[in-house]
Symmetry: C2
Subunit: 381 residues, 2 copies
């Protein structure tokens, strides 16, 4: 009977009305009835991607859309620059290598954002580089990368800027067309507050032109085929019908709140979580935090793996801990998707109690109070 | 307020208790809580696949598992024999070609089963062929292929028998290990009575050995990586959590009914649908029908596209019509998955009424009566 709370930066909690939308009876995917739902959903996704381009819906995890970006846009032997400042940046490079691309690694220290000047220097130095592969938010380090500034560099060149916005689209505004991003992808289980199983991808005109000439292996993730099918209001292969029903309900919710308010809400929760953890004396893992989540180092001597485990199994709160080099050392509090104000209260409250039980020095309630200070002025009286 | 019935051979109706299982709150996928669900589900899938081998769960449509079979088991330049007797056989060949394999096409007339002797002759003639790619049921033609007999031919050779059992596993028994099938795949939206979005794949020892030496491009669909992760009770990439919750509930249902009874039930419905359509004088499209569905030619002069459309939009019954060369000419009644006895009554009843309205000669109630004759002896009194 432990009442459970999912406060991890993906998957995120699914709103009750979305769960119910997904529990509707299945309709056949090759019917005008489903086509109407599908076309409407894909059309409305454009608003969240802030683009006039088609947003394609794939039945896969976000990694599938990462693979699609690589195999549809780059030929075997082409060179790409991969921003590697965490686990997901590293994944870009592994995918590129798996499909025969040459990878120029731009290694960034965990917790740091990539410097646009370094990107510019790398591109100036080597004109063979035809793509920059990076994240909007590197989830493993909670860092937000300066996409807008980097797009300024690639915009008027033959280099494609490919952005994994799995933790980004729907978290903060990423005006793809205005900034000049060439490929932007996302997934269902983050700000889109759905279960995992759908990936989204949009390409600029420049990217679509490159797709025409790209020679690489692909079949299931064939973007030209999907674009042609989308024009016919369908998909190349059987789509994940129930998740798409859920997605439509999510888009209804985002219409109701308004995207600007949605982004403000996430940013407010970020501010609250940052204030709460600061009040506890916990050091943030980065100076460039994403609004998606707050990552902080745990006090010396506290076993982070054990703390996250106890919070989950004994207290009912699921946070994300650290990955790879930060395993056991950090805790990450989610702010994206269907996380509300009092989830941040719960987050800080549970962390305070756990830290105290793990022998750290904590003034009980101080983190919660700091959260309250931020939140109390967020509503009209 | 049209009360709707989904009688297509995929997607199939999802039982209410499965819809509710999928509407459970999402839990994080990197937790012992989800690992327990995942490992239990994967373990119990073995029973349905009738194998001792691991059954891997992929987040994709069935086509993703077809691609995985090709890219994990065959090297660029290797030759495979593709049984092409319909739309899905053709897909095998397209995938193989997309990944640089040489395809030897064995074209089979639509509506016919492939002759095992022809497979044997093709393999004897060309020792360069290292795989036979085929379906258990070719859904586009409703034909059941003689997998057991073909496995006898490949079993003690270096040729892999790769079977798309998307419409097969869970429809009838396919004892993978006993027969000597090397790769068997399936998908969630057929006999597994789930929404689309999951694919399943199992490999024989012989196939796993070949995987070790196969050189081809892959990343998202990397079976060795997934097998390693399954041993750790997890997946390489974020799994479709809600669909896996649903799958576990499906496996509960199959445990309750028992697989033998489940197959008998599907076969009984097939017999009923065959009797009903025969009573209406509708000719079956094949002499080798799968238990999954019954396909019949519509009377001359009846526009099948329009008939299927009217049944769906005005009567509420969704059947599958014909594809490609059979478009507008046939209708397919589903018997697999969560289809019950009275769905077959509804099927024949609605087809009778539609045929009469389309000007065909029909004795109203005669098809239904034939269905009843079959069904009435299926229960104890």
């Amino acid at each position: 009977m432990l009442k459970s709370y999912l406060l991890s930066p993906g998957p995120t909690p699914v709103p009750e009305r979305v769960l119910l939308a997904m529990a509707q009876p299945i309709i056949h995917h090759r019917t005008p009835q489903f086509s109407a739902v599908f076309a409407d959903t894909a059309e409305r996704l454009k608003k969240v991607f802030n683009t006039k381009q088609d947003v394609l819906i794939l039945s896969s995890s976000g990694t599938g859309a990462m693979e699609a970006s690589v195999t549809n846009s780059f030929s075997v032997g082409e060179k790409v620059l991969v921003v590697n400042g965490g686990k997901f940046g590293e994944r870009w490079g592994k995918i590129a290598e798996a499909y025969g691309l040459k990878v120029e690694w731009m290694n960034v220290e965990w917790g740091n954002a990539v410097d646009p000047a370094a990107i510019k220097a790398a591109l100036d130095k080597d004109s063979a580089i035809k793509g920059v592969l990076m994240q909007a938010t590197e989830s493993s380090t909670t860092v937000k990368y300066p996409i807008k500034e980097i797009a300024q560099i690639t915009k008027n060149s033959d280099v494609l800027l490919v952005v994994d916005g799995i933790t980004g689209v729907g978290v903060f505004d990423i005006p793809m067309d205005e900034w000049g991003i060439d490929i932007l992808i996302s997934g269902s289980q983050k700000a889109f507050m759905l279960p995992p199983g759908l990936a989204f991808i949009a390409l600029s005109e420049k990217a679509w032109k490159k797709v025409d000439g790209a020679k690489n292996n692909k079949f299931y993730f064939d973007l030209k085929k999907e674009r042609k099918n989308l024009a016919d209001k369908t998909t190349a292969y059987t789509p994940a019908v129930s998740l798409i029903n859920g997605l439509r309900e999510v888009l209804n919710m985002l219409d109701e709140i308004g995207l600007d308010n949605w982004y403000k809400r996430t940013a407010l929760l970020a501010k609250a979580a940052q204030a709460g953890t600061a009040a506890l004396g916990l050091k943030m893992v980065t100076d460039s935090p994403s609004e998606a989540m707050t990552g902080v180092f745990l006090p010396e001597g506290v076993d982070g793996n054990k703390l996250v485990k106890v919070l989950r199994d004994k207290v009912g709160i699921t946070f994300a801990g650290g990955q790879d080099q930060w395993k056991g050392k950090i805790i990450r509090i989610a702010q994206l998707g269907y996380i509300g104000e009092f989830d941040i209260v719960i987050a800080l409250s549970s962390i305070e109690m756990a830290l105290a039980r793990f022998g750290a020095k904590v003034e009980m309630g101080s983190g919660v109070a700091a959260v309250q200070e931020v939140l109390m002025n967020s509503f009209e009286v």
